[in-house]
Each structure stands twice: as C-alpha cells, then as structure tokens.
C-alpha cells in the first residue's frame, strides 16, 4: 500500500486550511481519512492476543 499518498493529501488539506477554504480542506481530510482506514484494514489483519 502506498505510504506517501495519505501524507500528500493531508498536506494539501492543511494548505487549504491555511488559506481558509473549508470545503476543499474538509473534502481532502475525508479522502485522507478514507486512505487511513484502508491502510489500517490492510495492516490490522493479525489476531489480537486477548483472552476473553
């Protein structure tokens, strides 16, 4: 999975945030959150060592 892509979209969201453009910033933030979730799903595949 790409490791750099969420950082780039996140940095772009920060740029729009600094410019005060909330819709664009929020859209890029959502995209980064989606990439974060996808990345997490790919790596959180091992069983948790919990005895319930």
């Amino acid at each position: 999975m790409v490791m750099v892509f969420p950082f780039l979209t996140g940095a772009l969201a920060i740029c729009y945030g600094i410019l005060g453009k909330r819709p664009a910033c929020f859209a890029l933030w959502l995209l980064t959150l989606g990439l974060f979730a996808g990345w997490a799903c790919q790596h959180l595949d091992g069983p948790l060592p919990l005895a319930l």
Binding site: M3, G10, C15, I18, G20, T32, F36, W39, H43
Partner: protein, 180 residues
C-alpha cells in the same frame, strides 16, 4: 459556561494554537525518534502519524476560521482512529529490542497524546459552544500563523520521511499496482 464570554473565540483559538503546537512537536519528534531508533518507520507508525496529522487539521481550522463543532469532531474522530492503532500495537506482544522513552514505548505515548486530544476537544466542545459554526476567515495572530506554517512543514517532513522509507518510485509503483 461563560469562559470565553468577554472575547468570544479568542481564548479558545489560543488554546487551539497551543494544542496544534504540541501536535507539531509530536509529529517532528516521532519522525526523528524513529529515524534514530530504527532507521525506518513501520507501516503502523506511519498510520499513527497520519492520524496525528488529521487531528491537527481540525485544530488548524479552529485557529483559521474560529471554533466550530465540526472542527472538534474532525479532531475527535481522527484521534479515536489513532488511539485504536496505538492500542492495537500496545496489545501485541512487546518488542524486547524496542527503545523506550521514559519507560514507555512510543506507541504508548502516542495513545496518551490521542487520548489527550480527545479530552481537550470534548472539553472545548462543552465550554466553547457560544461561538457557533462559522466559516468566515478571521485574522490570525503571528504566533497562530507560525504554528500553522510549522504544522505544514511537519506534514511535509512526514511525507518526505514516508517516501524515504519505501522510495519515491517504489511508492508510485505501488500506487499504480493498487489502482489496477
């Protein structure tokens, strides 16, 4: 609660700027620490940095546009995601070779930072509700502007660190493969 009644939003934005500065310090420190300790960042460590960056975007919008429940919700949701990753790492069998910072692993510190961000945002949501939601740009003080620029630099440094981990061309080859 009339904590910010005299000058609505002003004290709140200062507190948000301070929090964003702490987020920047955490981002830069984790990058330096992992570079020194392991020479590379594990995928989960990169994920924690992404979550930290996403949490900071809500704080940045609070500084730039004024406090809003939406911005605090952005910070809380990203922090919960980051806390989930840190908690998952903490529940795995301990890596005996890992370097400790003041007796704790870095992911334990990350969990505390995310928990602190959630607590801060919840507190501010409770105390700061007079300000309301507004997307009008507001003049930012010099320290606030400096913190926002520092946050952008920290995010770009994190991106550079991630590209050094997998190599720039390898990263884009993986992207092309993932999109196929």
């Amino acid at each position: 609660m009339a904590l910010f009644l005299q000058n609505p939003g002003h004290g709140s934005r200062q507190l948000n700027a301070l929090s964003l500065f702490l987020v920047c310090a955490s981002l830069i420190f984790s990058l330096v620490w992992q570079g020194l300790a392991a020479g590379y960042a594990c995928p989960m460590c990169g994920l924690q940095r992404v979550a930290l960056m996403l949490s900071g975007v809500g704080l940045l919008l609070n500084i730039r546009l004024g406090p809003s429940p939406l911005h605090y919700a952005m910070t809380i949701s990203a922090s919960l995601g980051g806390a989930a990753i840190s908690g998952w790492l903490a529940l795995r069998p301990a890596d005996l070779g890992a370097r400790l910072l003041l007796g704790l692993h870095l992911y334990s510190w990350a969990f505390l930072v995310f928990a602190g961000l959630v607590a801060f945002s919840l507190l501010m949501l409770a105390l700061d509700r007079r300000w309301g939601d507004n997307a009008l740009k507001r003049p930012v003080s010099l320290p606030g502007a400096a913190v926002m620029v520092l946050f952008l630099v920290a995010a770009l440094a994190s991106a550079a660190g991630a590209s050094l981990d997998c190599g720039v061309t390898a990263c884009f080859k993986q992207l092309a493969f993932a999109l196929r």
